[in-house]
């Protein structure tokens, strides 16, 4: 990011913010993000957000679980300590399936949660940086980057205003 400063357009109607965002992106402004109390249908497409790669991570974690479970069981019940349970063979993959399944699910669940926290840099003690406290209630905020010597703040403000913004202000991110 070449800038910390953003201009915030605050709206009270999801349709207005949707149209504004669409127009701003069309006009070449760099929209940092849109904040909303709920998911606005189609907004991810407008913002050009790519499909989450969490599924890929999930698959990898599941594979880890499966390999771990099969290794553990093969080692424990065949190489280390064979036991005769009802005359059944010790090395028998179908009997390992329940534990393999469970461990795959466990690894996937914990892995995905851990992965999500890591990607979003969420650690213990970190406070949420809420763009405007009212987005947690009933208002909608679009944040547009102010690139020095490029973004015309006055023109941008008028676009926001004309599209129904109830308030416009500038804000600076700390990082």
């Amino acid at each position: 990011m070449d800038t910390n400063k953003v201009i915030l357009g605050i709206y009270n109607d999801p349709d207005h913010i949707y149209d504004t965002t669409k127009k701003l992106i069309h006009d070449g402004y760099r929209v940092r993000d849109v904040y909303s109390p709920f998911a606005i249908h189609g907004m991810d497409r407008v913002l050009g957000i790519k499909r989450s790669r969490l599924t890929v991570a999930a698959f990898c974690f599941a594979m880890t679980g499966i390999v771990l479970a099969l290794t553990l069981q093969t080692y424990a019940s065949y190489f280390d300590w064979q036991m005769n349970v009802g005359g059944k063979p010790s090395l028998h993959i179908p009997t390992y399936i329940p534990i393999t399944f469970e461990l795959a699910i466990l690894c996937t669940a914990f892995g995905m949660v851990g992965c999500f926290f890591a990607v979003n840099k969420m650690v213990w003690g970190k406070n949420a940086d809420i763009i405007d406290i009212r987005v947690t209630d009933d208002l909608f905020v679009v944040a547009i980057d102010i690139i020095p010597n490029k973004t015309d703040v006055a023109e941008l403000s008028s676009i926001l205003k004309n599209n129904g913004a109830i308030e416009i202000r500038e804000r600076e991110f700390e990082d």
């Binding site: 036991m83 005769n84 009802g86 059944k88």
Partner: protein, 388 residues
């Protein structure tokens, strides 16, 4: 009537006050007891009932056929008469190695008289708790070995043996209740090679030893009782309570003197675990150690289980099936030998010897082809099941 016990046994009042003495109803005439004369006693019928605590109706085998019998004539013609309708068995997996010992037991149903000495000695050897009348009524007795009794009566109309309660209750059937044919079958853990109880244990508390014993790890058992449900022979017993140092079960495990009778070689089980016949594993281990100290190999007859030791008819034989010269190996090659519920392919380590009766009319009937192995026997012999 339980004889009407007036005093209890040593160190506990076990037995005191149990039962009623019915001898006051018996007269004494001409130097002998007379059961049909009442000396001044009048009997009045009341509406009161009394529930009998008996184990005879416990552990139903669901009409499955566990018995094989043949007449002497049939046996002379064909030594395997009565038991050669073998099931066609296939295994889904390869057998485990059975090097070293492989313990097994042979039970001769010809010799067994149903006396119950094995039950008593097993209970004494293996610290089997006494559970008392109330728990017997709840079908919770703890015996590791039981003697199943099967009755059959002759149906006078058809001339065939009649074994089912349904047939007895049917008034159209004329059944000769005066002449009963009884069969005694000692029943304990069969130590199956493909044990159905082991596969259902979620915590591996019951697994096979390398010597073919079906073992219990009491510490591991969590008391799901799946094993008992899956056992086709109904030989597993669950400890519903702590039977020692428990005022609710004031029998011989509840005081210092009584506990001195407990066999120190056998674990006293606690509440919530399953138990069953162990083939007297403590005796097997002791014999192994003895042979080791004497620097020799174990020989046939070194190990005698408690039930075998006390059997007055030598109906039970225990030994190593991997030793070709042992008595049990010879008995297992005998034509009369069969295993219970062979068609399940659970591969029991206990073999039974077909009962041969000294009667003229054929019992086993014609031998059938393997494909139809169970129909005839179901019909004829799946008997009212009882247990002493």
């Amino acid at each position: 009537m339980g004889y009407g016990k007036l005093i209890g046994k040593v160190a506990s009042n076990f037995g005191k006050g149990l039962g009623k003495n019915a001898f006051s109803l018996v007269g004494f005439e001409n130097g002998t007891y007379a059961y049909n004369t009442a000396n001044g006693v009048t009997l009045t019928k009341t509406d009161d009932g009394y529930e009998l605590a008996q184990t005879q109706t416990h552990h139903t085998i669901e009409g499955r056929n566990l018995l094989r019998e043949a007449s002497l004539d049939e046996y002379i013609k064909n030594p395997s008469a009565g038991n050669n309708d073998h099931a066609h068995i296939i295994s889904l997996w390869e057998e485990h190695d059975s090097k070293g010992h492989k313990w097994g037991m042979a039970i001769d149903m010809n010799a067994c008289t149903g006396c119950g000495a094995c039950v008593v000695s097993c209970s004494a050897e293996n610290n089997v708790p006494v559970v008392g009348r109330k728990e017997i009524l709840n079908s919770r007795e703890m015996h590791w070995i039981r003697i199943d009794r099967y009755y059959s009566f002759k149906n006078l109309a058809t001339g065939k043996p009649s074994t089912k309660e349904k047939e007895y209750n049917d008034k159209n059937n004329k059944i000769d209740f005066e002449h009963v044919t009884v069969m005694h079958q000692p029943m304990m853990c069969q130590h199956c090679g493909h044990a159905p109880c082991e596969t259902v244990c979620p915590v591996l508390a019951t697994v096979h030893s390398s010597e073919g014993l079906n073992q219990m790890a009491y510490n591991r058992c969590v008391g799901t009782r799946y094993c008992a449900n899956n056992c086709p022979y109904k030989v597993r017993r669950f400890n519903w309570f702590k039977y020692r140092e428990n005022d609710q079960f004031d029998f011989h495990f509840n005081n210092d003197l009584g506990r001195m009778v407990i066999n120190p070689d056998v674990t006293v089980r606690s509440r919530g675990v399953m138990e069953k016949c162990s083939f007297c594993v403590q005796r097997i281990q002791a014999s192994k150690l003895k042979a080791k100290i004497e620097n020799r190999k174990m020989v046939d007859g070194d190990v005698k289980t408690a039930c075998q030791q006390s059997c007055p008819a030598d109906a039970l034989v225990f030994g190593d099936m991997n030793d070709p010269n042992s008595e049990i190996s010879k008995l297992f090659k005998n034509e009369r030998k069969y295993v219970l519920l062979e068609e399940y392919n659970v591969q029991p380590s206990v073999g039974y010897m077909t009962k041969i009766r000294n009667v003229n009319e054929p019992i086993a009937g014609e031998q059938k082809a393997p494909a139809k192995h169970d129909e005839k026997h179901e019909e004829h012999k799946a008997a009212e099941h009882a247990h002493s």
